[in-house]
Symmetry: C2
Subunit: 414 residues, 2 copies
């Protein structure tokens, strides 16, 4: 029995995701699909447009069989830790046979040897990354350059340094590489498969195709032109779920939904207190305090615009602000604390096939399967619950049931 | 030259305040009036309906000559520290000759001997207060009972314990008593004067008189029936200022304006972290965490309703929530830290007569006179600035200029 694993955010689920889902299932000849999905906050440090529960429904509606939550401790992290957490969850199911991901390269022939080389060379690689960072490069750029250099030195994959670097600077190649490094580090038997990303680049601001638009483009349409404008790019089930969530005042959620608590904390904390947050590095605390009085408006968007430099990517800065919002002390989510891997398999939803999978997993899984948050006491799970509470507290229609939903909500069943 | 001092909140300034102002000026035969006014957060732990700047304008418009800010470290405190801070500021001006306050008693013949007796008996009094608290009484009730008992034992003022207690349970008598105790402790030469409170009790929810309503009644009208309904009880200048503030999205401010950041913090903090806030005493942190999932709605009003018991007055609980909002660690505002008295005279506004007073005060004042927040580095002033930033962050129309107003705003001049 082939079980395909996908690593997703579905923010929101759109036609491009539906295409990827169908093709991945075909490619893996899969009988069932497991999606590891970020919860309410995403890798780039942003809140999701609607809650993890609504996005779980979207995934189940189009045929995903089992949705597992990527703990926020891994979900809002640089690519390597995001990838490590997600792949470790798939491995821990004990049933996943294939990992399918989209990439700009569309083939494993170059990524595979790179992954093999890099998985074993962490000390040398880290030294090269540090060297690149010292030139003022952002972390992703430094990593791509260092990885390319390490590889080209030994001629792996037949690429020279410039070609390897150009390839790794494409975000889905980079994520894919980290998935494969994680598989190798975990000694996993899961087979990686890749699909060339279709039509829309994730960074496209506007749709390029009649039915396929990037999630960014879909969110822009939602923000500026409303749900109707986005409908052509969404499965009908997604559109219905979004309409319901918006009507109930549970979305759309953006960073501005958290402007009041974020600025509250930025106003109250001294630079020294700000510096105690995860990812608040290299004097960013002083830059923030100096910028606050100069912002044209006290919005998160203006703050991010003013903070951005070559060295600090928008993504890095958003993640840092997320850690201020969540009051994550540096240390809590620190990388060494993550290397032990996730501690549980949190089930957000399942189909009837998913129910059968869960039965099998009772025997095969190497981590506890959690269907209610109250069942397990784990620091990462407490963090997930806090993050979801904070998220619900940003809804236009605040309600106790939403603030506490993580404690009460059983998995969504289709 | 007679200079009358008033201790006020003006939330908002209404006809009852105007009457008190006129009568006080007459009674003191005063050439000028100084008001010590709470800033954006008030003694009962509530935010003011409009900012301290708008309320300063109201005060100047009806004839107050100089408005000084009572630092938030004293303003949001039980009666004894509120009174001590305010009286110490008047004393520090070096020009105040009279202190006029309203009281239910309307005469000093009973309050004066009580004050003399209590000012010197803090050890015995505190022991009696502790004994009353142990029976489950609230602090104000325990203080009234203990003070009455201490006094009656020595027959001061000719009242028996029951009569003294009944008198002290009236809130303005209690405040007045604390003003006089403070005068005595400070060795002040300021003469106290009292006026009987007219018509409206501060706790009245609805107006009792054609032109005089309590501030509570005025705020209820504003909240439920709009500004027009409140106009009969307000000087025209107050009504104009309120209309302008509301139109600009700077009011009305209520506790619900801070529901998101307050619940944010309540969701994130463990009971142990909550217990580190000022006034979070005797296991209240556990009660809050247990109540959160049971609230009908996540509003501050529902939370306060559910938290209230005989022991914990609404006022005590509101102040505690304010300290959570301001992240005041226990210690910061602790009573012993306040006994040194205020550290500055912060000028919020002045009339032309007030300008002359300020000139005199350059020679007479025993504390630095601050007209711009950036002039002085003092922990209480930092707290005032933080409190005002947090307050502005709760406005419907959030703006950088309001968040930073305390740094930039010179005193209001009329």
């Amino acid at each position: 029995m082939n079980i395909a694993g996908l690593i997703v955010e579905y923010n929101p689920f759109h036609n491009g995701h539906a295409y990827h889902f169908t093709e991945a299932k075909k490619l893996a000849q899969a009988d069932a699909v497991i999606a590891v999905m970020s919860g309410d906050f995403l890798q780039r440090g942003e809140p999701a447009i609607v809650s993890k529960w609504a996005r779980t429904e979207m995934a189940l509606q189009v045929g995903v069989d089992l949705v597992l939550e990527l703990p926020v401790a891994y979900a809002v992290q640089p690519a390597e830790w995001f990838a490590y957490g997600a792949v470790a969850l798939l491995e821990a199911t004990g049933v996943t046979t294939h990992l399918c991901f989209g990439s700009e390269a569309g083939a494993l022939d170059v990524l595979q040897p790179l992954a093999e080389r890099l998985a074993d060379e962490s000390a040398e690689l880290q030294a090269q990354v540090a060297e690149e960072l010292a030139t003022g490069a952002s972390y992703p750029a430094a990593y791509a350059a260092a990885a390319a250099r390490v590889c080209a030195a030994e001629g792996c994959g037949g690429l020279d340094a410039a070609a390897a670097r150009a390839m790794l600077e494409q975000p889905n190649n980079s994520l894919g590489l980290h998935y494969m490094i994680a598989l190798r580090r975990l000694g996993s038997g899961i087979t990686p498969l890749t699909l060339r990303r279709l039509a829309a680049d994730y960074r496209d601001a506007a749709p390029r195709d009649a039915a396929i638009a990037s999630a960014t483009a879909v969110r822009n349409l939602l923000a500026h032109s409303g749900l109707t404008a986005a409908v052509p790019y969404l499965p009908a089930s997604t559109a219905d779920i979004m309409a319901r969530e918006f009507a109930a005042g549970r979305g759309p959620i953006t960073w501005e939904s958290f402007a009041q608590p974020l600025f509250h904390r930025l106003l109250l904390c001294s630079p020294e207190e700000l510096a105690e947050h995860h990812e608040m590095t290299e004097g960013l605390e002083h830059r923030i305090k100096k910028l606050l009085p100069k912002l044209k408006e006290p919005t998160v968007e203006h703050l991010l615009q003013q903070l951005k430099t070559k060295r600090y990517t928008h993504t890095k800065l958003q993640r840092m602000l997320f850690h201020v919002l969540l009051q994550s002390p540096s240390g809590t989510m620190f990388r060494t604390a993550l290397s032990g891997g996730p501690g549980y398999l949190r089930v957000l939803g399942f189909s009837s096939t998913g129910r059968e999978l869960l039965k099998r997993m009772k025997k095969t899984a190497s981590l506890p399967i959690v269907t209610r948050a109250a069942e397990l006491n784990h620091p990462h799970l407490s963090l997930d619950i806090q993050a979801s509470g904070i998220y619900a507290n940003g809804m236009a229609n605040r309600s106790t049931s939403e603030l506490m939903r993580d404690y009460r909500q059983p998995p969504i069943q289709l």
